[in-house]
């Protein structure tokens, strides 16, 4: 039961940090894909299936909200669960992200423990119905 995950953040440091936290979380991982903005993430999703996405909001070229909109327009990709991780803590943005199907939200700055707890809870809720991820 190994997960394929996509991390979308314009900061290579945040991507590396999230990868490290995921690897140390005990979650069984097949592959972790990376993208530095929404456009790149859509390109990754053209060729790779992922079980869930961890996505920033505030990014150049295509931000997280626009990426979510594009994702939800696609019948298949629109089903991929998303965790938002962002400096963006305004209620209206969080509400918009939730309307677009975001399942969990983590505000930066975060501790590795906060990320690990959210992933554990999220994976438990999202994948307990299925024996295995896709």
């Amino acid at each position: 039961m190994a997960f394929n995950i996509l991390i979308v953040d314009d900061s290579s440091s945040i991507r590396r940090l999230l990868k490290k936290v995921i690897e140390l979380s005990g979650l069984e991982v097949d592959r972790i894909h990376e993208a530095s903005n929404g456009l790149e993430a859509l390109k990754v999703l053209e060729r790779e299936w992922v079980d869930f996405i961890m996505c920033d909001i505030h990014m150049p070229q295509m931000d997280g909200i626009e990426f979510l909109k594009r994702l939800r327009e696609d019948e298949v990709l629109g089903r991929i669960p998303v965790i938002m991780i962002s400096t963006e803590g305004r209620e209206e943005i969080i509400q918009e992200a939730r309307k677009l199907g975001v399942k969990a939200y983590v505000k930066k700055p975060f501790t590795p423990e906060e990320i690990r707890d959210v992933i554990e809870k999220f994976v438990g809720e999202e994948f307990s119905r299925d024996a295995e991820p896709h």
């Binding site: 900061s11 290579s12 490290k20 505030h58 400096t87 963006e88 803590g89 305004r90 209206e92 501790t111």
Partner: protein, 138 residues
């Protein structure tokens, strides 16, 4: 705005970089630094938030995040971009609706000093023996 920064900035340093900033009295005639990280807050007016950071402090932040890596200059700039982004994000959340955060940028050398020259820092900190100064403009 200074009080908001006082509330937000130490939390970022502690949570993300495991460092405890000590606020200084201020008034340092020529704060030391190699990088200026900038984010703009756009609302009823535009405010630029700039953080002046010396390279040894940026390196220490990077090493606290990734102890197994000798940080490149790109890594340092990326970390500082994220630092100012988190500070800006915290500020717009506190300022209320109608404020937006611009994309962060990091400057070095003459370009960096052009941004802070002649401006008094709004807040100054000592972080593990290294100085850090925050500037506000607008």
């Amino acid at each position: 705005m200074r009080n908001l920064i006082r509330q937000i900035f130490p939390e970022i340093m502690e949570k993300m970089f495991f460092m405890v900033p000590e606020e200084l009295e201020g008034g340092t005639p020529m704060p030391r630094g190699d990088f200026v990280a900038e984010a703009t807050l756009q609302g009823e007016r535009e405010i630029a938030v700039r953080i002046l950071v010396p390279e040894p402090l940026a390196s220490a932040m990077a090493k606290n995040l990734f102890p197994d890596e000798e940080p490149s200059r790109e890594r340092l700039k990326d970390i500082l971009k994220e630092l100012v982004n988190m500070l800006g994000g915290g500020l717009i959340m506190s300022l209320g609706p109608g404020w937006k955060l611009g994309l962060p940028r990091v400057y070095e050398g003459v370009e960096a000093f052009g941004l802070i020259g002649g401006i008094e820092p709004a807040l100054e900190y000592d972080i593990d023996g290294e100085p850090l100064a925050i500037y506000l403009e607008g």
